[in-house]
Subunit: 376 residues, 2 copies
């Protein structure tokens, strides 16, 4: 099948680029002597993840229990669920552990959660594993490494007979606040320092800390050293996107995910092409625009060559319509109503979530359909 | 089941409010002597749509062929697909018509599409129906009513033995550019005038124009007269949302869709509650903020009473995390880690698309699960 046979909008995944991106990150982590625990939150796909882990169902990171469930049942035996759990979700986590035998590592920064998990595990007669979430400067979640509450939480986990303290994790999401490699490198250093400091606190207090986990794609790529770090978590590098390109952590020719759309109208009054890719097909993410003004909701490419179509961008989205202003009337000839374009998304994690599957392509050829596990 | 039994995030639909909203719009259209052709793009649900049409599978509007397919197979026999079609999608449209017998009305503003549809219909031995899309001032899509291309397109449809010209449609999406009722009323008047003018052109040229279709929720509510208009299309009124509230076209107590979320952390360093509802669970739509600054990605409510929780709002979203700044430390006591909140979304059409189903509630009781037909 050719991409011209697809009914738009569709989510395309360029297999050559995906293979290159996943191989490059595995090589990078090998060269840095740190384990890669890929984050599956972007791809949410078994096929993509198997490329990321190098063909074996090795350790992964998930963002939902639904992903944990899905990957555990597919044979992944070492899963870190990287979003703080709450007591209401413990029964689901326990069910996954019981039914699959997965080593599921949970995350929290709240003493009350650890206490509730201890009671739950005792009542249910099972064992739950935790890492303590550390705030390395993003101030989203986590405890500061030197906060008394950090060591208090670790101790509550460690001392409970039904809980296992596995270590610490942090995420330097604020690495996205800059497009300056030196700035990212500094965030990466602080991320590793915070994780290491927390690990040392735990060990100094006689507690185990087997996992010392950091990661965001930019910091994993730019960190100078992973000394004292046992693993890195990142996910967007599999696909890359305009937000990453705008932060100069990838090249345009790395972008593996795109939305295939049709030109459904020419609005010569407004001076615009209208696409059948709007707010749902592209998402309302504008993340790249901070560093690449004019990106809008996505940049247009030739559907076959992936060459950019001038500076054409989707600047307005309605639910199913995307508006692409054109200054040069020649675009109406070049892109008649019914023609195809590919749109590079701002933020692949968000755009891909609108689709149940990828159409996997090499050039203009569709060579497969890979499913995604969306929702919660 | 109670909402406290649900694993978050979940999409809740308040049945009392939904029933009130759908009944009110039916009464409004009756009082204005105009047919209501509800737009199912917000709800994408058979159960919701049956309330909107008053218990019978009457005429509806859809935004995707997947919706057309789904509703046609469920017995809806009169469907307007309100997004411009392209030749690549004609085979799907034809399949729906053949297999269900639905009266499927297609939309275009492009002569090339009409010509291709004529050839396709002749080749396939079937008949396709079209309305011509009119631009009533939004300048998204459609032709101006007095444009020579408008009448030329209508004639190409009308003269083709395999195509049926059914009339004209327009959508005044720019009614959302103001929160002033007088401004909306003016847009509504211009919307009706454009549709009527186009209809008169067609009839004046000896062509039929049985359908004269207008609509956006604000213009349908505020138009003074639907003289010469045969039907109105609107959808968001079933649920309402903060974007509509910010334009003063509904009351806060009308909002029927909300996201049930858990507090998964207290970040006292940053002064924030962290929710498990982020960019995917809420969407990145910020539509209400233009007229209601401080709305962020959504406003927090008590999960049972739906009373607003002060002015708490989600101001930062990551994929699965939502950050809610708190000035008063008392909120940490009132909303401990693990507690539930409901988040009112900016734009229900976009937020709901992240969920496969609604948990239908009356008060704190979950009384059903209604599925949605997402994607394309």
């Amino acid at each position: 099948m050719r991409i011209t046979d697809l009914e738009t909008p569709r989510l395309l995944l360029d297999l050559d680029r995906l293979e290159r991106n996943t191989a490059a990150m595995r090589a990078h982590c090998r060269s840095k002597s740190v384990a890669l625990r890929p984050h599956v939150k972007t791809a949410k796909s078994l096929d993509v993840t198997l490329l990321a882990t190098g063909g074996e169902p090795l350790g992964i990171t998930v963002s939902t229990l639904k992903e944990a469930d899905y990957f555990a049942r597919a044979g992944y035996g070492d899963i870190l669920y990287a979003v703080g759990i709450v007591p209401r979700k413990l029964a689901h986590a326990a069910r996954i552990v019981r039914e699959t035998g997965v080593d599921l590592v949970l995350v929290t920064d709240a003493l009350s959660v650890a206490l509730a998990a201890g009671e739950f595990a005792a009542r249910e007669g099972l064992r739950l594993s935790f890492v303590v979430e550390i705030d390395s400067g993003e101030h989203r979640s986590g405890l500061l490494p030197d906060a008394p509450a950090m060591i208090e939480l670790a101790r509550a986990i460690h001392q409970h007979p039904r809980l296992a303290l596995r270590g610490v994790m942090t995420h330097a999401g604020h690495s996205y606040a800059t497009d300056d490699p030196a700035g990212i490198r500094k965030v990466a250093r602080l991320e590793c320092e915070a994780a290491r400091a927390a690990a040392e606190k735990l060990r100094g207090a006689g507690m185990p800390c087997d996992i010392v986990s950091v990661g965001s794609t930019p910091t994993v790529l730019l960190a100078e050293s992973f000394d004292g770090i046992t693993e890195v978590r990142c996910g967007i590098y599999m696909f890359w996107d305009l937000s990453q390109l705008s932060r100069k952590v990838c090249k345009e020719s790395d972008l593996a995910a795109s939305v295939l759309a049709s030109v459904i109208g020419h609005n010569r009054t407004a001076g615009a092409l209208i696409l059948d890719a709007g707010a749902l097909a592209l998402s309302k993410d504008l993340g790249a625009n901070a560093f690449m003004p004019g990106t809008g909701y996505g940049l247009l490419c030739d559907p076959f060559t992936m060459e950019r179509l001038g500076d054409l961008a989707v600047t307005i989205v309605h639910q199913e319509h995307g508006t692409v202003p054109v200054k040069d009337e020649a675009w109406y000839e070049r892109l008649p109503v019914g023609s195809l374009v590919r749109v590079l998304p701002n933020h692949a994690c968000i755009t891909c979530a609108a689709y149940d599957s990828y159409d996997v392509v090499r050039g203009g050829e569709v060579i497969g359909s890979w499913s995604r596990i969306n929702g919660w």
